[in-house]
Symmetry: C2
Subunit: 507 residues, 2 copies
């Protein structure tokens, strides 16, 4: 039995074994390991890493002594055993993110996780200096999730050659989809690790249609094999999320729905940590059936963010609107909203109980657009999105529950508001009331009330004001009917757009 | 036979007769007249105007000699005859507005009518000086439709006593709903006439729930009688539109759906001119079934203006979104959007093939809010709405047909665009592309292309530019699939929000 160095909780234990290099071990050799903790067994698939090396990776979720034993279809890899001690987590490490409280997320250690993601689809395929720049930029932002593709991208503003091909080149000069390029995958997983160190979840896009290499149409069996390989390599990274596709519906001609379901199942079969799984649509009318039990949260592309509460109702899962359009100026309708509009869409989404994603698409003489390649941010929204994250993390304990028209507060089909325990937010957006009441506490008390300018990023303490006039309709010779539930007091507001209010019970 | 003075086409011919004043002629006496033009007969109901006077009003729609004969249930009013000559219309008079081309409107003389309405629900119930001010203000704007209630209004910011009660006060000190107050109705119709002279359609709201007098719950039979009376008095005004209700769904407890249908039918039975009939909802989910054949156009209250093309599909009638929220700052969520947001909603609505309505609700120390009382405009949107009307009237011949996702131009679920014959508009709103192509002509030609700033109200001639890069997706080893239809050329744009483009074939 091989005794290895201690591993921190949620870090990666790796065992490597020399095995056969002849033929095609990717096709022919299977290896997995059973990791044991007391009487608990966890099955973990291994993978071939080239040059006769086979690896098994494991992310321990419990502190104490772990043992393992391999199972392989070649004798030299079978029955290998070892052990290691798992200690406490490193500082800042909170374990993988899972769904909590139906519509929200938390890390394994219980710390709430509020996604504030951005998008650099092909950043790991750019020159290394630019990749370093991407990581440096991310460090200066408050983004804590990154959408990124395994495969390189062929699309407008994305015609450069990738750093490495995804598969080895065969004797015929073509890529051999039965021989993954270990160099590419090693580089990819190292960058996933680099994100983990920055506290950024890697929302890994497994398939996408922007392709000139044939990766998007390798055939079902090759897809299944690639997926098992990817999961075996990457699942031990605590910050992995599985995004089955970007715009899966643009791939329906070669990957029918049942095949997408099978992808989900293969991940479930091979990922012992049950990392989050989702699938992203292209057309707004082509959402996947997110009610299927193997979809953990709803990942959508949709600009109509005031519908967020409606989507919660429809699917009963966390809503992550990863593409509520991007800040930018390119001639594509999904890539040119103003900075204030994207910040506004973040606020509307979050104040209706969902989460939103950032992207940036400004034209650049060398086609260096953040949304695809990373590098530098050039827009104005990212700072305000960070400001919003700071606000949310300061007070929200579990996740926000929106006021909805179904509460009898029909007002909240127009403006936005949400609460969690002792904190309530109202967000007015394009509305600019000079006074307000609905959504404020129904009982008077000791509250801290703050006016927030979402663009200027200012927070100003304001006081209570008299309740403004209410519109109860008089009917039937004077009986007052209708009107919405009111509040215990009112507030005065500046009468300009893009303002929010935070109400906290004074401690 | 009584020979009367000539009448201009679409003006009002009126015959008055002395009849019984005893008892209650409103309940007991029926009078109508048949107006004849050659072999054509038109039945026109009359009404009791108080003090023993009965009137029949008629709006001739054909030039030449008209005769009439009365039919009444009292002998002194029965069989009365007369005639008059109808000449050409007065300058600026184009006759009543009707639906044309399924989604649009035109006057009787064929002139297209594009509604650019505003709202002063209770303006005819304010002090006379304020009413004069309302008319003077309207004259300075480009609004050509006004939503206005027959009855006064009891609601927030609307607690003042009306100028006249709608019914006479009985011996018990209460209003007698069987005795209309001729003074009030005469005043009301005079103001409808004043609007006609300004070229403003009167969108007359017959019932509404904001009531402390009992007008909204008089009982079905009294409602029916009031409706016949109103139609007999007012239908001869060329600029009348019948709006069955404001927020009809807040009256469903006393007026069930079948009763609303009956109101429509009573108008059809009594209005020989078939003025436009519609009905306005309160809750966004409570639209009337506008497919019913007695609904001429769809009048809605809905802030979600990007759905306009969807509503056209659903109902197949002109869409008039009379309440896409109001410019203002009051603490009601429907009454406090910014000026730019309301102008934006007008553009989105029109560029998706509908029409929008204006309202203004700024808090005022004496509760003088334009939306209810008229008076002065204090906002910034009305000028820009007038600018939009001027643009549309300059080039649109029939009405705009939107580009929709169903055209294969999915882009137009995000940005807005529409065309009519030789003119095409694109409207970008919160989008700020620095270049563009989709929606521009598919064939090259001699075009006048103008950049329009919807807020600054500037129009700037711009030129063609190279076609920007297109995102056709490469799949299956290089085959390009997907992408939207492109254009023959591109344009450069300033990369800021709230811009539109007009493309005209050069004559």
């Amino acid at each position: 039995m091989d005794r290895q160095s201690p591993i921190a909780q949620w870090d990666i234990f790796e065992a490597a074994f020399q095995g056969p290099a002849a033929g095609n071990p990717y096709l022919d050799v299977t290896i997995e390991a059973v990791f044991s903790f007391g009487n608990r067994d966890v099955r973990v698939p291994g993978f071939y890493d080239g040059e006769g090396i086979f690896r098994v990776r494991f992310m321990p979720d419990a502190q104490g002594e772990w043992r393992y034993r391999t199972i392989a279809n070649v004798s030299e890899l079978d029955g290998r055993t070892g052990s290691f001690a798992c200690g406490g987590p490193r500082a800042g490490m909170h374990g993988p993110v899972h769904v909590r409280d139906k519509f929200h997320f938390a890390h394994a250690d219980g710390k709430p996780y509020f996604p504030f993601g951005t998008t650099c689809y092909a950043w790991t395929h750019q020159p290394l200096a630019m990749q370093a720049q991407t990581l440096a930029t991310l460090k200066d932002t408050r983004f804590n999730k990154l959408r990124m593709g395994v495969f390189p991208k062929d699309y407008i503003y994305n015609q450069n050659e990738p750093l490495y091909p995804a598969f080895e080149t065969g004797a015929d000069g073509k890529e051999d989809f039965d021989r993954p390029n270990a160099t590419m995958f090693r580089h990819f997983e190292n960058q996933v690790g680099a994100l983990r160190e920055l506290g950024v979840e890697a929302d890994i896009i497994i398939f996408h249609p922007y392709d000139r290499w044939g990766y998007c149409d390798m055939g079902a069996e090759r897809d299944f094999r690639y997926l098992r390989y990817l999961v075996a390599r990457l699942a031990a990274y605590a910050n992995v999320w599985w995004s089955l596709a970007n715009e899966y519906d643009f791939l329906l001609d070669c990957k029918p729905i049942a095949q997408w379901d099978r992808y989900f199942h293969i991940i479930e079969e091979n990922d012992p940590y049950r990392h989050l799984k989702s699938i992203h649509n292209g057309e707004a009318t082509m959402n996947f059936d997110h009610r299927k039990p193997w979809v953990d949260h709803v990942c959508i592309q949709n600009w109509d963010v005031k519908r967020t509460a409606e989507w919660r109702e429809a699917w009963g899962k966390p809503i992550v609107n990863d593409e509520p359009e991007y800040e930018g100026d390119i001639p594509r309708p999904w890539g040119n909203i103003s900075a204030i509009e994207l910040v506004h869409r973040f606020w509307v989404t979050i104040m209706r109980g969902g989460y939103a994603g950032h992207g940036e698409t400004f034209m650049h003489p060398e086609d260096l657009l953040w949304w695809a390649k990373g590098g530098e941010l050039r827009g104005e929204s990212w700072k305000r999105i960070g400001f919003l994250r700071d606000l949310i993390e300061a007070d929200v304990k579990h996740g926000l529950t929106p006021f909805t028209p179904q509460d009898g507060r029909w007002v909240f089909s127009r403006v936005s508001g949400a609460s969690d325990g002792d904190v309530t937010y109202l967000y007015f957006g394009e509305h600019q009331p000079a006074a307000w009441a609905v959504g404020l506490p129904m009982e008077d008390g000791d509250y801290e009330i703050d006016l927030i300018d979402i663009w200027a990023m200012t927070i100003e303490r304001i006081g209570k004001a008299p309740l403004p006039a209410s519109p109860g309709l008089r009917q039937r010779n004077g009986a007052i009917v209708g009107g919405e539930p009111e509040a215990a007091f009112g507030i005065h507001l500046p009468g300009k757009p893009y303002q929010a209010v935070r109400i906290r019970v004074r401690k």
